[in-house]
Subunit: 307 residues, 2 copies
């Protein structure tokens, strides 16, 4: 229903929206831009999320944020008043750790990223190495003297505020060995934070690593459907009765399409309805996967159709 | 003559090579990999370069190295015994400075790169700003508090061993203003230094900047024919009687093709004859510009045809 039609739910008869909503047994919400902005909950989001649960639906939070663990994400949500357990949270760092665990990976994982990645690896019994050095001598000397751990079998690159040239060289040097698995947490390169200000995401460091090594990472965050595999494989959710709520086209809406979920775009985050209209007008068939099924200004706007 | 045929000059009759050589009034040599490796001259290169000059040809050195000035490059060459003046040296940093000077650029240039870029800008009367900070607070705070100089009208990104997240954010933030000119020194992302070791070049940081800002730089080093414009525009050289000697396909050989020079690949640097053969066998017409006209194992091998 409404497949890639970008249907504005506020313009439909309430009964029609209620009928559509009744088809969902599970709802997966992106975190930042849907439930909250950094440390501020988005109006009505908490109430709506909790009501979805109370009404008998399975509710999940999914995020490409690799800085914190699933437990920390659940704790953050609980601080806002959201009812959620760790087991209902999926993050890109867990996705990477889970990928290696499923492969029964026995070597060490070298991480250029945030602590969430290390913590999730540890919880799944995978030994991880961290890089925190700086380039304190000429690069030529640094590279010549560089010692690499022969037990490293995978490299994971995520968002890293401490990214520098020494880290680029060391991480890239591991990747020159084609036997080493190359994983990325997500492709987001820039996060607008308003006032024409932009924060750097993992995609920028991955681009540098790709140019340096000629290798492309397997990116395990959204829109890779691997992110949802723990829920789909275990039978916790069925794609056809699952709704994905998100604020970004390249990650959330693309992810929903990749997973066979229905999708709801909310206007409280990164992308705007204008951007969706542009994609529709362009008519590029490759971009069709980015077009949301439905639209609401925010998650809070869903509540009126639920009560 | 020999246009994109990858002719091995050692396999031709000497008289034929001598005749070919007699058509050149000017010879332009790449530096690293052709004349020297870091601090070691390549066998026979100095003698050959000097003989080319003694025999009445105009000789030049061209390099994408933006770390040093033209004068420093000339001094380095002189230390090896090469006869050359600053006015016969072209570098990618000079190329960037010259581009802005020709445009009569009146604002400030913001540089994320090495000191050669600043020095060349200064010599052409262009005020430059340098960034040397580190990210010492959470990125969110750093970005929110970031102050940008409104007089900056151009950003130049080159190889920078001190590259870090704060520099990426500040430089990228200037580039969010589409009126600011975005220049890059060169696209080389990796420099093999033997023993499976690789140094990082400007291309890797440019890739991060491109992913972060969505903007592509105008890259003014080789293979951009702009590099040769001071020589061509002034009439110092004529393309049809100029030979370019280089060791890289993507930069040197592509540059020669872009400029209408004849090209000689030497095997003493980055690329190998095997890589050229692969390109020829693939038969991709887009890659034809990378195929050298002629080949010799090193510049020193040219001497026997000259004497």
């Amino acid at each position: 229903m409404f497949k890639q039609t970008f249907t504005d739910l506020t313009k439909l008869p309430k009964q029609r929206v209620r009928q559509w909503l009744s088809t969902f047994e599970s709802v997966i919400c992106d975190a930042d831009g849907v439930l909250w902005h950094f440390s501020k909950a988005i109006d009505g989001a908490v109430e709506t999320f909790n009501y979805l649960k109370t009404s008998g639906r399975k509710t999940f939070i999914i995020s490409n944020n690799s800085a914190i663990t699933r437990q920390e994400m659940a704790d953050k949500a609980k601080d806002f008043g959201i009812e959620i357990e760790k087991s209902s949270v999926l993050t890109s760092s867990f996705s990477c750790a889970n990928f290696l665990a499923v492969k029964e990976f026995q070597k060490k994982a070298f991480v250029m990223g945030e602590k969430g990645v290390h913590a999730e690896l540890e919880q799944l019994g995978i030994c991880s190495l961290k890089v925190s050095e700086k380039l304190e001598k000429p690069m030529h000397e640094f590279v010549t003297e560089l010692e690499l751990d022969p037990d490293v079998g995978a490299v994971i690159v995520g968002r890293d505020e401490g990214f520098n040239m020494a880290k680029l060289v060391r991480t890239g040097s591991y990747l020159l060995n084609p036997d080493i698995i190359f994983l990325g947490t997500c492709l987001d390169a820039a996060y607008p934070i308003g006032n024409n200000r932009v924060m750097v995401g993992a995609g920028a460091t991955l681009a540098a690593m790709k140019a340096f090594t000629g290798r492309s990472p397997l990116v395990l965050g959204k829109p890779n459907p691997w992110m949802a595999s723990p829920l789909v494989q275990s039978g916790a959710i069925k794609p056809e009765t699952t709704l994905m709520v998100g604020d970004t086209l390249q990650t959330d809406m693309h992810f929903a399409a990749n997973c066979g979920f229905q999708s709801l775009m909310v206007g409280s985050g990164v992308n705007t309805p204008k951007e969706v209209q542009q994609i529709i007008e362009e008519g590029d068939p490759k971009k069709k996967v980015l077009v949301p099924d439905t639209y609401l200004p925010s998650l809070g706007h869903l509540l009126e159709f639920l009560c």
